[in-house]
Every structure is written in C-alpha cells, then in structure tokens.
C-alpha cells in the first residue's frame, strides 16, 4: 500500500471516529451538572462522619482507602523495579572519573569539554528554596484533613527538595543526604505502616482500613479525623522516598556508573 492510500484509509477511519465521538458528546450531561447519587451523598455526610474538612483526602484515605493502598503499591513496585533493573551488573564499575585522582564531582563524558561549574544564578535560588520546599511538603503531607492536598502531593514536593540539592550542582551532597539504604527503609516503612493501620482496624474486629481512631472535636483541626491524618503522613514519607530513590538511581546511572573495562 502506498503512503497515499494509507493516508486515505486513515482519513476515512478518522472521520468515522469523529462522528461517533461527537454523537457520544451530545449525549453527555451538561457541563458542571453531576447526575450520580454518590457525590451529593458524600458531600452531605463527609464532614460529620470523619471530622475532616479536606473531603478529597477523606475519600482517598477513608471512604476509598483500599484503592489508595493499591496505588501506594504501584509506586512502591515502580521504585523497587527500578532499583532491581538498574543494579550494578558484573561488567560495570562505579567510578568517579577516568583520572585516578579524586574528582570532586562526576565529570562530563563529552570529549572536548570540561564540566562547567554551576553558575551562581542557579545555586543561590535552588539552595535558598530547599528549606521552604521541605516545609511546604511536610505541611501538605501532615495536614491532609484540613486543606486541599494530601499525602501524595506533600511527598512529591518533599522529593523535589532533594532534587533541588542535585540541581544546585552538588550531586555528591545529594547522594550523602539521601543514601539508598535510608530511602529503602523509609519507603518500606511508609508502605508498611499504611497496611498496618488497616490491619490494626481488623485487629479490633472492624473492617479493613476502618477509621477507628478518635475523631477529635473540631472538624479540620490538626488532631482530628482519626486515621486519615496518620495514613496521609505515612503516604507522604513513602512517596518522597520512592521518588528520591527513582531519581537517585537514574542519576547514579548517568553520572557514576561506567560500562565495563573503560
């Protein structure tokens, strides 16, 4: 088949697809009109039942906590798979450079070019931002019940703080701040603690991941909403560790690992 015929075939099929698509669109409910029974039901009862004003987090960690456990383990498996795939194979060495001397930073492999030092314009903002980003990440992860955020968002922002350390040119500082053993432990601790909170509910004869801790007085306060705040905290730890692990593995591959014998 010539390319021209292929293009005609595609045009005909695409026209059919667009027709079906528009027909389906015409049958949708109006923009912003939610037709189902589940949404208004949750909105009516969420704050009274869980004392959490962040209803999205309440759905994530209480009403649909079981789905969130599955999502957790998707991220966990991704990070674990990355660690396994990018492990040190037999033919590879982890070196600091072709020169025998102690290189202060990983060197650039291009032939006629020296690794340029990180400009001050990049170093200053990234190093200045590390503190606020850590604070924001912790705050988002620890206060899932009170504001529009949650464990996952806080965890990713925390991982971004580590990436900022790398961006400011200090790859070895990044490596020292986040050693692989510590990250592995933190990730496993986060994922395991989530499951353990659910099992603690089972140990009391309630369904898995039931919200059994005391709900607190004021909706949205720091110590309210039972297991939601606790789970979100652990999810934050797990997500931060998983993302930093993934980025660290890739950075090691790019900057430190040398393919065999060179």
């Amino acid at each position: 088949m010539t390319p021209r015929q292929r293009r005609w075939l595609f045009a005909i099929a695409a026209a059919g697809l667009v027709a079906c698509y528009l027909w389906a669109f015409a049958g949708l409910p109006g923009f912003g009109h939610y037709p189902g029974p589940y949404g208004p039901e949750i909105l009516k009862n969420a704050i009274a039942q869980t004392n959490a004003t962040g209803v999205v987090s309440a759905i994530n960690f209480d009403y649909r906590g079981f789905d969130t456990v599955g999502e957790e383990f998707i991220l966990f498996t991704a990070a674990a798979g990355m660690s396994v795939v990018l492990r040190k194979l037999r033919g590879e060495r982890e070196g600091r450079g072709e020169r025998e001397g102690r290189a202060k930073s990983p060197y650039d492999r291009a032939r006629n070019r020296d690794l340029p030092p990180t400009s001050d314009a990049v170093r200053m903002p990234t190093l200045a931002l590390v503190g606020p980003v850590v604070l924001i990440g912790w705050w988002l992860a620890a206060h899932a019940q009170a504001n529009p955020s949650g464990g996952f968002q806080g965890g990713v922002i925390l991982a971004t703080a580590f990436m900022l350390v790398y961006l400011s040119g200090e790859f070895l500082a990044f490596r020292r701040l986040s050693p692989v053993a510590l990250l592995d432990c933190a990730e496993a601790l986060g994922a395991g603690a989530f499951v353990a909170v659910g099992l603690a509910a089972v140990a009391q004869g309630l369904p898995y991941l039931d919200n059994f801790l005391p709900l607190g007085q004021v909706p949205g306060a720091v110590s309210s909403s039972g297991t939601i705040a606790l789970i979100s905290f652990f999810v934050g730890i797990e997500v931060a560790a998983a993302f930093t692990l993934i980025i660290g593995e890739l950075l090691e591959q790019t900057l430190l690992v040398r393919a065999g014998g060179r």
Binding site: R109, P148, Q153, V156, A159, M163, F243, I246, Q253
Partner: protein
C-alpha cells in the same frame, strides 16, 4: 457553565491553550527540546486543573509532570547518548 463570567472566560482560555500546547508537544522533534516543552505543558495542565476547581490534582500534576517526569526523561536521554558516543 456556572454563573461567574470571569471564570468562564478563564476556563475557555486555558482549554484553548491546553489544546494548542498538546499540538506543540506532538510537533516537537528534538529530544531535549521536547522534554522542556513537556515540562511547560505539565505546568499548563496544572493551571487547567486549578481553574476547574481541583487543587489536589493540580498539585500532583505540577510536581510530577513539570519536575519529576522531565528530570527522569533527561537522565534517560543522557544515559542513552553517553552510550552512543
């Protein structure tokens, strides 16, 4: 669409920008440039989710789509390019 006119205009603008951004992402050819365009598109998507009143998703998309994903892609490109030299 809901009442407020300013929100309507904002939502339509962001939708049009997202459609244009998607076309730009698809039509970019070079790898490193594509990664940077993808990062900008992640930011645009986060703004889209925010104007449609979903700040949780906007936060996730902001960090994952504009920071973590381009970094991972850049590192993969660097590793592949190194092996080709």
């Amino acid at each position: 669409m809901t009442g407020n006119a300013v929100m309507d205009v904002l939502q339509v603008t962001v939708l049009v920008l997202v459609a244009a951004g998607a076309t730009v992402v698809v039509r970019t050819r070079e790898r490193v440039r594509l990664v940077l365009v993808l990062s900008g598109y992640g930011l645009l998507l986060a703004i889209l989710f925010f104007t449609f009143q979903a700040p949780d998703v906007a936060l996730s998309e902001l960090t994952v789509g504009a920071v973590a994903l381009p970094l991972i892609l850049l590192l993969a490109i660097a590793k592949v390019r190194k092996r080709q030299e």
